[in-house]
């Protein structure tokens, strides 16, 4: 049987079962904030990693502890594999203790991607809430590396407190560009904070975009995504030009374990990136 891990860029790698992780080495561990960190990984056997699209995720296995779905936060066009996550559960807490040279298992890439190709010649508004920025970073890289193909590019980023801001240096670089706008807001400010305070939807009015010609990409808590989508629609953005990324419990990542069901969808393979119109009716129901 052909392995699902076989990828065009890496024909020498053969694995039989879709549930078998491939060893990757930790090249760099970086603490981002108090409870978030970034892992830079490379395949253990010096061969190239798989091809992936922005928005996809991997199942990351920590030896003896378990496996969790984590979105890829690096660029699809540069080597190496980057994951940024928050230490919240057994596995991510174990990941937070990894150091350079340690090995993790990787299965993937899985799931749908951000519509970076369809977004060409459109304005792009990217909205991230908290730990929702890493799954969007690959899309930002892709758009910036083909910047001239897009209209306006705006990032709206909401976090709880200034200390929770991820990728600070990079945000500064993006903000310094003349061809990208970055707006950040916090739920609770500290005295040094000179920026916006309030929920991320309040930033939408600051972002000048052409509603008829805008693609929106949103990641955050479900309620935040829902209200952000509604705010865009209120401003005449087409509902099927709005995309968001869902999160559910996942044990396999390949549509077999049943855990990630969201109505008729399997978030792992029909998502995580969905068009708003695909799931809008489900978003308003409890316990789907």
């Amino acid at each position: 049987m052909a392995s699902v891990l076989e990828v065009p860029s890496d024909t020498t790698f053969v694995s039989a079962g879709p549930m078998v992780p491939r060893p990757f080495v930790v090249k760099r561990f970086r603490k981002e904030t108090d409870d978030t960190f970034t892992l830079e990984l490379e395949p253990k056997e010096g061969r190239s990693r798989f091809v992936f699209g922005p928005g996809q995720f991997n199942m990351v296995y920590v030896y003896g502890v378990g496996e969790v779905p984590i979105s890829i936060s690096g660029s699809p066009s540069t080597p190496g594999l980057i994951h940024t996550t928050r230490a919240v559960g057994t596995v991510t807490k174990a990941m937070a203790k990894l150091k350079k040279g340690d090995i993790v298992g990787i299965r993937g890439p899985y799931g749908t991607t951000w519509p970076v190709k369809e977004a060409r010649s459109h304005d792009v508004v990217i909205v991230a809430g908290g730990i929702g920025l890493p799954p969007l970073r690959g899309a930002i890289y892709e758009i910036l590396s083909n910047r001239k193909d897009y209209g306006k590019v705006v990032l709206l980023y909401g976090v709880r407190t200034p200390a929770d801001i991820l990728f600070k240096d990079e945000l500064e670089q993006w903000r310094a560009r003349f061809d990208m706008e970055v707006f950040i807001t916090v739920d609770r400010a500290v005295s040094e904070w000179r920026g916006n305070v309030g929920v991320v939807t309040t930033l939408i009015s600051k972002a000048g975009f052409d509603p008829q010609n805008t693609i929106a990409m949103i990641v955050g808590p479900e309620v935040m995504m829902r209200f952000t989508a509604l705010e865009f629609i209120k401003r005449s953005v087409k509902p099927d030009s709005i995309y968001l990324s869902m999160e559910r419990n996942m044990k396999c990542g390949i549509g077999l374990c049943g855990h990630c069901q969201f109505g008729p969808m399997f978030v792992c393979k029909d998502g995580p990136v969905f068009r708003y119109t695909q799931i809008k009716d489900l978003l308003v129901k409890w316990e789907i």
Binding site: M1, V4, S15, A16, G17, P18, M19, V20, P21, R22, P23, V25, K44, Y61, Y63, G64, V65, G66, E67, R86, V88, G89, G101, D102, I103, V104, G105, E247, R248, N249, K251, C252, I254, G255, L256, C257, G258, H259, Q261, G263, P264, F266, K269, K285, W286, E287, I288
Partner: protein
């Protein structure tokens, strides 16, 4: 398929068939009495079948009884289903060994073992449909389950047509039985009047090959007709029914139906229904290490959408209430399954009704919601009609 034969074998030739399968190195799995139930297990002779046994089933009730005859298949679906062999309850996926900077991973689930060449002996029509449904789940998507397909592809299937309606089943309404139509190597119909024999329908070349060593003769028209009559009678005697059409519309439009609260007040979230269901396919993965920490295993285990852990993400369970979990199960079974796999996920075996400790009946729960749907759609179509006429 017109070249395939139909035979008559005498009841004592059934053992010849089992021995022939064993000679072909099949591990023959069949129904056999254990304690107070008829379960599925390895059998080595026809004497291990539940001869002269039957079951009485009703919501939350299962009792084994003696029959007045020596029927081999005079009972209905028991607590086990064949998924326990094709999709084992516990399966080691991966063994990993190493320390920090080293990690060796072996693909255990892809390793064949000798025992898994199964002859599934006595598969009812409902369960045969369930196998076909799981074939789609595990073998028809972008990603396939290699362990399932390996076991499934070598399995020899001896179906048995039902000549008796069980107490909780409803195959004829969901169009899966009582007669096995496709996907078997051999299909048996047991006839007992003044004689005791089986009509054996051959479904495949390999079925024919096995039959060639069994005492048999071509079945006569009257004998076949007799078997047909018994099967038709079983269909007519079925007490329950579930209307399988428009399930998506009915359930998607009734996510807030008050009946969900009524059933949630009874449901214990025990997960029995999902364990006995022959199509439920959810699984989790468990991680263990040995005491020294040098070897770790990843084991797949059956899981159930009725547990809180099932949908847990940081911050809590997506479906914390029994209402949400029961609604998810029933809606998946009858509605979203259609979106996912093109068919409902219920085959009418009745196991979830029998083995529910409080006797929740899927046909009854769905019927109530369906009636609301029919009533409201009748009201709205009447309104439309009136509107159109005025």
């Amino acid at each position: 398929m017109s070249t395939l034969m139909t035979y008559r074998i005498e009841h004592d030739a059934l053992n010849e068939l089992i021995q022939e399968l064993r000679k072909e190195k099949y591990n023959v799995i069949g129904p056999t009495p254990r304690g107070e139930a008829i379960v599925l297990d390895e059998i080595t002779s026809a004497l291990e079948l539940p001869i002269g046994k039957t079951d009485e089933q009703s919501p939350a009730q299962y009792h084994l009884k003696d029959r007045t005859d020596k029927a081999y298949f005079g009972f209905s679906a028991g607590p086990h289903s064949w998924k326990k062999y094709l999709f084992p309850p516990i399966l080691r996926l991966v063994t990993a060994s190493g320390n920090g900077s080293d990690l060796q991973i072996s693909d255990d689930a892809s390793k064949p073992n000798e025992e898994e060449k199964y002859a599934l002996f006595g598969v009812r029509a409902c369960d045969l449909s369930a196998i076909h449904i799981q074939d789609q789940v595990f073998g028809d998507g972008t990603y396939k389950d290699p362990a399932y397909l390996r076991v499934r592809n070598q399995a020899f299937i001896v179906a048995v047509n039902c000549t008796r309606a069980g107490g909780t089943c409803f195959c004829s309404s969901v169009r899966t039985g009582p007669r096995a139509r496709v996907g078997f190597d051999l299909a048996l119909s047991e006839v007992i009047d003044n004689e005791h024999y089986f009509i054996v329908e051959v479904g495949t070349e390999r079925g024919e090959k096995v039959m060639s060593s069994v005492s048999r003769r071509p079945a006569g028209d009257t004998e076949m007709e007799k078997a047909d009559r018994l099967i038709r009678a079983a269909a007519q005697l079925t007490g329950r029914s579930l209307e399988p059409d428009n399930t998506r519309e009915i359930l998607y439009q009734n996510t807030e139906h008050p009946r969900w609260d009524v059933v949630a007040a009874r449901c214990l979230s025990c997960a029995n229904c999902t364990m006995v269901c022959p199509t439920c396919f959810c699984a989790t993965v468990e991680d263990t290490t040995d005491l020294t920490g040098t070897e770790a295993q990843r084991t797949r285990k059956w899981d159930s959408c009725f547990t809180m852990d099932f949908s847990y993400i940081h911050g809590g369970s997506v479906r914390p209430s029994a209402r949400g979990r029961y609604r998810h199960w029933l809606t998946h079974k009858l509605a979203s399954w259609v979106d996912q796999f093109g068919t409902i996920g219920c085959v009418g075996c009745g196991r979830c009704i029998t083995w529910c400790p409080v006797g929740i009946d899927i046909t009854e729960e769905f019927r109530v919601i369906r009636e609301t749907y029919l009533m409201t759609s009748r009201v709205s179509s009447t309104k439309e009609a009136t509107h159109g006429n005025s």
